[in-house]
């Protein structure tokens, strides 16, 4: 072992995690090498001083910073659930409206090609939806409130599966 190797092994040596054989080798080198002995002592002292520093640190946060943080975070935390609820309700309303438009466009043959493909492949796997669309072709476009809940939820899931920004209908 030379001094360079020793310097890069000091961490395990100092924290006691080095295996015994290697430790003996290191001790052997140290007993013969003055610079390494001093290097090791000062390295240990550095770690020791850092440890003392750590113990002496108080988590000092200026009083006015603490106060501003308290006010800000608490106010924002209060508003947050409310905001989230509003936001979710809005999305829910938007989606319900869009389902009505989607069904209308499907019946009129106005779906964008990507959406038409998705609807088609969904209907191939879903007897309820294909039955529903089949029936619509005879009765015409339904009113907004007339779409059954389970069909609606299928179509909402279908729209959510499309990439964001996808245009559902032809202009």
């Amino acid at each position: 072992m030379n001094c360079k190797e020793l310097a890069y092994m000091l961490a395990d040596y100092c924290n006691g995690s080095m295996d015994l054989r290697l430790r003996e080798e290191l001790d052997g080198h140290l007993s013969r090498c003055e610079p390494c002995t001093v290097f090791t002592k000062t390295f240990r002292a550095t770690c020791e001083e850092t440890r003392k520093l750590r113990e002496s640190i108080e988590y000092a946060i200026p009083a006015e910073v603490r106060e501003r943080l308290d006010v800000f975070v608490r106010a924002a935390a209060l508003k947050y659930p409310e905001k989230m609820r509003e936001y979710r309700d809005q999305i829910e309303r938007d989606l319900r409206e869009m389902v009505t438009d989607l069904v209308g466009a499907a019946v009129a043959g106005n779906l964008s090609s990507a959406t038409a493909l998705h609807v088609e492949s969904h209907c191939a796997a879903c007897p309820e939806c294909s039955g529903y669309f089949e029936a619509l072709r005879k009765t015409g476009t339904p009113q907004a409130g007339d779409i059954p809940e389970d069909i609606r939820s299928h179509l909402i899931a279908l729209m959510q599966a499309l990439p964001p920004g996808e245009e559902f209908f032809l202009a």
Partner: protein
């Protein structure tokens, strides 16, 4: 980390998720000092650290529902803090940092120490922390580039294990050990030069 802290965190997490009254206050009480200090040691500016701390708590509150619980709660918060601070640093011009290479030990081709060594360990071995030395350690630490500073602060100042630090930073344990060792070698050299200068006067 102590078992007590674990219990505190478990209860806190539970009440935050339920939106229990006082949960946010408890979160602030337990963590705002720690988070502000961690942010300070990365950002080195009080106003930046304050804004970062705000962001950290907002993120914690917003994401507490999605916290998986496969790491400890405090290490999740630390991770959010480190990421928030590093994002902030990215946009800024780097502050002055020293090159750590200039403070690595120098060896001859045969791997022997190339410069004479001065033993100052006896002088600082008193029980209490030498106040001035503490100040110098902080100053020298602040001059490290954030790559080393963050590791050093989490391990040696926050007292986290290498495993915890690795998890927080998304690095491997060997990478943490190597950075930490280099930071300590750097600090040893800085302190040597500083103390030598002092004794030469």
């Amino acid at each position: 980390m102590s078992a007590e802290r674990w219990k505190d965190d478990e209860a806190l997490l539970e009440s935050l998720r339920k939106g229990a009254p006082g949960a946010v206050e408890e979160l602030l009480r337990l963590y705002q000092g720690k988070i502000f200090n961690l942010a300070m040691s990365i950002l080195k500016s009080e106003s930046d650290a304050e804004e970062a701390t705000q962001d950290v708590f907002m993120t914690v509150i917003r994401k507490v529902d999605t916290f998986q619980g496969n790491s400890a709660f405090y290490s999740w918060i630390y991770r959010i803090c480190v990421n928030t601070c590093l994002m902030r640093l990215r946009g800024k011009r780097r502050s002055e940092t020293v090159s750590i290479e200039e403070f690595m030990p120098v060896f001859t081709d045969e791997g022997m120490h190339a410069s004479p060594m001065d033993d100052w360990s006896k002088e600082v071995e008193r029980d209490a922390l030498n106040e001035e030395l503490g100040r110098m350690i902080r100053k020298f630490t602040e001059e490290l580039s954030e790559k080393y500073r963050v590791v050093f602060v989490l391990s040696d100042v926050e007292g986290l294990s290498n495993e915890e630090t690795a998890r927080i930073l998304g690095l491997t344990v060997p990478a943490i050990k190597s950075r930490l060792h280099r930071a300590r070698l750097y600090l040893r050299e800085q302190l040597s030069r500083y103390l030598q200068e002092g004794s030469a006067e």
